[in-house]
Point group: C2
Chain length 382, copies 2
């Protein structure tokens, strides 16, 4: 079998930095993947993602693209890369997380999930095989397995039953991949990541990891985090799980988190992240700074001539514009406001990952993390 | 008096091309000015306006900026250029057009217009002097006089009375300018344009021009067009008025129009234009092409792999993306869709002006205009 092209280049405690090579680009880890739900990253053109942030990989949502424009149209126009003109690496989720969020509109069976489209109510189906097939058509470079993501506080019995289903689906996904995607093709194949579930129960997380590792996926994600549990629970899940995953394969914490959470997870051996936070808070007028989150709607910024982040800001929004102007744009409902904030926030996340990599190479990650978190205030209303 | 730096470099019939120099940039005419209502051009970053379209001048709306963020904040942060980080020429309107649109919320007096803010209902006032003073604080390079713009079909009596008021206000504006803005300062001063009103009545338009010309403004606008009158009436107003305006000063048709209308007005001696059409129709999913306006929401574009304007499209939206992708973005409500369409439409307008200039230099403008209009279909629903 052609092993995944992944090399750890420096390590400090459990934290590590490395290089993951997909068929489309080289990705330095730890990496943050901007979320491009519907074939575009909300609020920022791919040109800026490449030129200003040097983003190497973004995430696409199978559920959304499966419904609109639909897999057949993406197939007809030659795949999601060609459709959206993104030429670097693309990771797609399986759609599982979204269909399970459709409470009342979906029915889970052994076969997969029957659900109603939130767009037109039409009856649709996704299962372990169809999710892999859809991602093959999308042409992502990293495809995620179809799993059930149980909600926080689901209870042990539900978590156990749910995990068992996720594990059976993983076996079916492995079979589908082996039948449809030959593994030995000189780095040109799609990579496939398994997902460790098990809610907040240590023994279930351990069981999940032990069963998934022999199935030899190319990387492993930790799912079911940041779904409503406490931060302590979340970090515990990460601490339990990473040591059980193969060190020579990348680890991906799905859907997290705040800047301090990302650093805490890197310290626990996580390599990859995605989160809607930087793009979503931008739409509410909020910006990440080295001193914490600020909301530019606040009247105290009305005549503030300094950039968003006067200490750590190095993006073009900080270089060109004052808080007073950004506040004006946001108050006036001008989309330039959300665009500049989105750019700034994504830039903040990607720079944080770059700093983490640099400090890992220098052996100073621990000190960097502690200083950053001490300076950074937990998000506060303003 | 320091004359305006304006030079006609080629002429064909009544049409002409020239170079207008403001204190901030050189503007080649005929020119289209993108509308930047609230300190930003909706849907496009200034960087793209400069780099991709080479826009030399944009328009700002005094009314909107007067209300939000307010003249005092703009003054505190050093003017609209510094606030918005636009470094090229800026033309501001006087706010007159907007306050007269506030039917029921405004009262016209000899002194000026008392009105209620559409944002918070507060009592505000704009008159010929306050409008000039506000524009001086905004720091625009070309400021427009405060006029009354009568609606289409207002009748001769109203038009006559309204015009008389506009003319008295012009005399007061001239006095304010002479008192506050010395005219001899080596090209560093703000320019001031008078506005010819008179509705669709030829003798009123003639009277307006004859009275305004001796007041020696730096340029002359034709206002009160595209306010609901027929296209024939609109072009008649232009035909009557341009011959009465000084040939050595620029002429500006306010708030027009479709691509064919712009070419018809250039043929009648107009040099400058502004219009919300390219940005506004973009927000509805429509795009200008050399074959007319198309609406990308149309199902026939679902799998259409060609660019927006396969014949004449030279913008980065045409270079990078298919109609199928744009349709997907618009249907999915992604702002990238409106951004790419805005970029495309503004690029279309600015390229049309560049083509007009090139054909005027080559002496082939008439042929270009006739061919363009014959090929271009009048906007159609789709």
């Amino acid at each position: 079998m052609n092993p995944i092209e992944w090399k750890v280049t420096a390590q400090e405690g459990n934290a590590r930095t490395g290089i993951l090579r997909t068929r489309r680009s080289e990705i330095e880890t730890p990496v943050f993947m901007p979320v491009g739900t519907q074939g575009t990253v909300k609020g920022v053109r791919f040109e800026w993602l490449e030129a200003e942030m040097d983003a190497r990989v973004i995430l696409g949502n199978t559920y959304h693209l499966f419904l609109r424009p639909g897999v057949e149209i993406i197939r007809a126009v030659g795949g999601l890369h060609k459709f959206s003109a993104w030429n670097r690496s693309l990771l797609t989720d399986s759609g599982g997380f979204q269909v399970f969020s459709l409470a009342g509109l979906r029915k889970i069976t052994e076969e997969g999930v029957h659900f109603q489209s939130h767009l037109d109510g039409s009856a649709r189906f996704l299962g372990p095989e169809t999710a892999m097939a859809a991602q093959a058509v999308l042409g992502s470079d990293i495809a995620m397995l179809f799993d059930e993501c149980p909600p926080a506080g689901c209870g042990r019995e539900y978590a156990q039953k749910s995990l068992a289903l996720t594990q059976r689906w993983a076996v079916r996904a492995r079979a589908w991949i082996d039948a449809h995607q030959p593994r030995c093709d000189n780095g040109q194949r799609q990579l496939h990541f398994g997902i460790v579930q098990g809610s907040v129960f240590q023994d279930l997380r351990e069981q999940a990891a032990h069963e998934l590792v022999p199935l030899e996926f190319d990387g492993y994600a930790i799912g079911g985090v940041s779904v409503g549990e406490s931060e302590a629970d979340m970090l515990n899940v990460i601490s339990w799980t990473t040591p059980l995953l193969p060190p020579h394969k990348p680890r991906y914490a799905m859907g997290v988190g705040t800047p301090p959470q990302l650093l805490e997870m890197i310290a626990r051996g996580v390599d990859m992240f995605d989160c809607v936070l930087p793009t979503r808070v931008a739409r509410n007028g909020a910006a990440f700074t080295t001193q914490g989150l600020i909301n530019l709607r606040n009247k105290r910024f009305e005549r503030d001539e300094v950039p968003i982040d006067p200490v750590g800001g190095t993006c073009s929004a900080c270089a060109g514009f004052s808080r007073a102007y950004l506040r004006h744009l946001i108050k006036a409902g001008e989309i330039l406001g959300l665009r500049l904030l989105t750019l700034h926030n994504l830039h903040f996340y990607l720079r944080l990952m770059r700093q983490a990599r640099e400090h890992l190479h220098a052996g100073s990650f621990r000190a960097f993390k502690d200083t950053f978190i001490a300076t950074y205030n937990i998000p506060r209303p303003s």
